[in-house]
């Protein structure tokens, strides 16, 4: 290849890259979809709007997490700290200072949480990995404990009930069905989302992605890594604070449980479910999670918890890019046809794979059968006498399930061509 053509190629590549960067923040028509659905939901489920507002609040909370987790790659299990700071700022301002104007309230919640994020982030973000993870957990737990220490101010775990807020713009009263709240939260979400979208597609957002992908390189090219991380952490904290403030206002009630480890873990699960680092992942994840939780946890909280766990494991094993990633892969999925199609050929190592699957299935069956016996035996000695037959049945069932699952997996992987969209 001559120098001239090489030069030409570099130029066009550079051109394409800059075109891509210049154009990728343009709105795509599909981006209107979630907002139209949110508006449609108001008319279809108008008697469930209190729940609808909670979904929108969790979407906002998940968006704030996406900013640091999905874009900057900061792992935190303590994001509830900022949600709680926002929630308590509004609650205490209303109760102790008589400051119950809602819009300035959420701004105050965002500012206080953002300042907290700035200070805490400045200390914590020098560390990575387990140390950072522990510091985020410890910060949320410390806030919760100190809130409990001064339960004369915060109301402790009994909470602060009966908070009152002024009508919106001094005009729109809060109604029993939460109609006003829904529009209020939706509008707040739209504003916050617009800001986040601008940040993500700005050069600053690009630098964050760079830090996520390769910190050393960003340091080497002179990017102020620490300050960028602290900045985005503070912004994310502020958004989480706004979500928390809205949470307090829509429920007119808040307790220290907002600082729970569970709150932090829950929002993380939502985001992973939808897909990280893709803005609308938070929308899909939070909605699916909240709706499933609403239905399933009423039926059986135990099964729901098992379901979340299974969902996480399956997501990490098979769908690392979340539900939106699955949709993308599915639309690009096709069976191999014609010349590309391979005949299924039995290989000897498949015997081994099936045997291992049968063993593991049998082990799981044994554990379930055994644990079922042991746990119940406390209450019913009947199960102890039926012990061997039951356990053997469970082992056989587990082994069979293992073989079937593995066989299907072998067939599918040998016949299909999954084309991943270029990222």
């Amino acid at each position: 290849m001559s120098d001239a053509t090489l030069h030409q190629k570099t130029l066009t590549a550079r051109q394409r890259a800059s075109d891509y960067l210049a154009r990728r923040h343009h709105f795509h028509w599909a981006e209107a979809l979630p907002w139209l659905l949110a508006i449609a939901a108001f008319f279809v489920f108008s008697n469930r709007m209190a729940f609808g507002s909670q979904v929108l609040i969790m979407i906002m909370f998940a968006v704030s997490l996406d900013l640091i987790l999905g874009y900057a790659g900061i792992i935190t299990l303590g994001h509830a700290a900022f949600f709680g700071i926002g929630a308590y700022t509004v609650a205490l301002a209303s109760l102790r200072l008589g400051w119950s104007e809602p819009i300035s309230g959420i701004i105050a919640g965002g500012v206080v949480a953002g300042l907290a994020g700035l200070v805490v982030g400045w200390f914590m973000l020098r560390y990575r990995g387990l140390t950072l993870l522990m510091l985020t957990i410890a910060f949320a737990a410390m806030l919760q404990e100190s809130g409990n220490l001064r339960s004369d101010i915060t109301g402790g775990y009994d909470g602060l009930p009966g908070l009152t807020f002024d009508p919106l713009f001094g005009h729109f009263q809060y109604d029993l069905y939460g109609h006003t709240n829904y529009w209020y939260v939706l509008a707040a979400l739209a504003v916050v989302f617009y800001v986040v979208r601008r940040i993500v597609y700005s050069p600053f957002g690009q630098a964050l992605t760079g830090i996520r992908e390769n910190v050393r390189r960003m340091n080497a090219i002179g990017s102020p890594v620490h300050w960028r991380l602290v900045t985005v952490y503070a912004i994310s904290a502020a958004i989480a604070g706004i979500a928390g403030a809205l949470f307090t206002q829509t429920n007119a009630y808040v307790t220290l449980t907002v600082f729970d480890f569970d709150t932090s873990a829950k929002v993380m699960v939502m985001l992973i479910l939808g897909g990280t680092g893709r803005l609308y992942g938070a929308f899909v994840g939070a909605t699916v999670y909240m709706v499933l939780e609403d239905y399933l946890s009423k039926m059986s909280p135990t099964f729901w918890q098992f379901g979340i766990g299974l969902l996480l494991v399956v997501a990490v094993l098979f769908a690392r890019r979340g539900l939106l990633g699955v949709v993308e892969s599915a639309s690009a999925f096709r069976w191999r046809t014609g010349a590309a199609r391979r005949r299924f050929v039995w290989k000897t190592e498949y015997w081994k794979a099936l045997a291992v699957a049968a063993f593991d299935g049998g082990l799981i069956g044994f554990l379930i059968g055994f644990a079922g016996n042991l746990g119940r035996a406390d209450r019913m000695s009947l199960f102890v006498s039926a012990f061997p037959a039951r356990v053997v049945a469970f082992i056989a069932l587990g082994a069979a399930a293992g073989i079937v699952i593995n066989a299907v997996y072998l067939l599918v992987t040998s016949r299909s061509a999954v084309e991943r969209p270029a990222s």
Binding site: G73, Y127, F139, F303, F306, G309, V313, L317, L363
Partner: protein
């Protein structure tokens, strides 16, 4: 004996017993994290599983407490091997996030499964006669069970120290924690080493879970409730360091017991203060590598 001194000794004694429980349960987590950098949030679930197996063996089948403890920790250790080979092994090179999600998912599943089978009410086991009541040490009496915990902890520490410092396997583990690639290139099979330490660590966790029944009470939420404590011990002590884990367990155990005694309202506040203070000064913990 003056009242204050008496209280001080009580706090120290209880703190020491608590520290031994923390050490026994966390040491496996520390070594596996140090070896593979694998964030195993399901460690608490292995401990809980051990506890429930002890409950079942003791109450349903009438097996004595001590043999039940041994059976439980061996069982959990063996089963954990399968988990390691089948699930965890794929994630050694993954990001921290994926490891966190996988293992927290497993923890959720185990909590739900144990709630389904055992119910949410705390369980207890019948202790053998010689572990009940108080033991007289001449100048005052101490609860026998806690004294037993301290002795057992001391014995385990001695054994672990011997294995770590004096045997071939221990030398290999130390080498792999220090520099995994170098250890592999001189012919140490780090994967097999890891399977071994993972099994032993999980078995010890199960032992800790069994010991916790009479110390802290055992419910299915144990898996996440105490996980944060185990992680704190590991982070404060330094990943992969035996003496770091011991020191951290002692500090956390005694500070927590003392804090709860002096300021009952403050709850676990002091643990978190200590954690943040230590990690801000020494990000890799007491004896971790920077």
């Amino acid at each position: 004996m003056p009242h204050a001194l008496n209280d001080f000794i009580s706090v120290l004694f209880d703190g020491l017993a608590y520290a031994m429980f923390l050490f026994i349960t966390s040491v496996g987590l520390s070594v596996t994290m140090g070896l593979m950098g694998f964030v195993n949030l399901a460690h608490g679930a292995f401990a809980m599983a051990g506890g429930f197996i002890v409950v079942s063996l003791a109450r349903t089948y009438g097996i004595d407490f001590i043999p039940a403890l041994v059976i439980a920790s061996v069982t959990v250790g063996l089963i954990s091997v399968r988990f390691e080979q089948r699930l965890y092994r794929r994630f050694y090179k993954s990001t921290d996030l994926e490891q966190v999600l996988l293992t927290i998912g497993l923890a959720f599943m185990s909590i739900a499964a144990f709630t389904y089978f055992y119910g949410p009410i705390p369980k207890s086991v019948p202790l053998p006669h010689w572990l009940q009541g108080d033991v007289n040490l001449g100048f005052r009496t101490f609860p026998t069970y806690r004294a037993f915990l301290i002795v057992l902890g001391a014995v385990l520490i001695a054994i672990l120290w011997f294995v770590f410092e004096k045997t071939n396997i221990g030398a290999k583990i130390r080498a792999a924690v220090d520099n995994r690639r170098m250890a592999e290139s001189v012919g140490i099979n780090v994967d097999r080493l890891f399977t071994l330490t993972f099994a032993v660590g999980s078995g010890l966790a199960a032992l800790g879970g069994g010991l916790a029944i009479q110390l802290l009470g055992l419910t299915p939420s144990f898996a996440l409730l105490y996980l944060v404590l185990f992680l704190i011990v590991v982070a404060v002590g330094g990943m992969g360091s035996l003496k770091g884990t011991l020191l951290a367990a002692l500090v956390i155990g005694i500070v927590d017991t003392g804090g709860k005694y002096l300021f009952p309202v403050a709850g676990t506040f002091f643990i978190y203060v200590i954690t943040v203070a230590v990690l801000l000064v020494k990000p890799a913990g007491f004896f971790g590598r920077e």
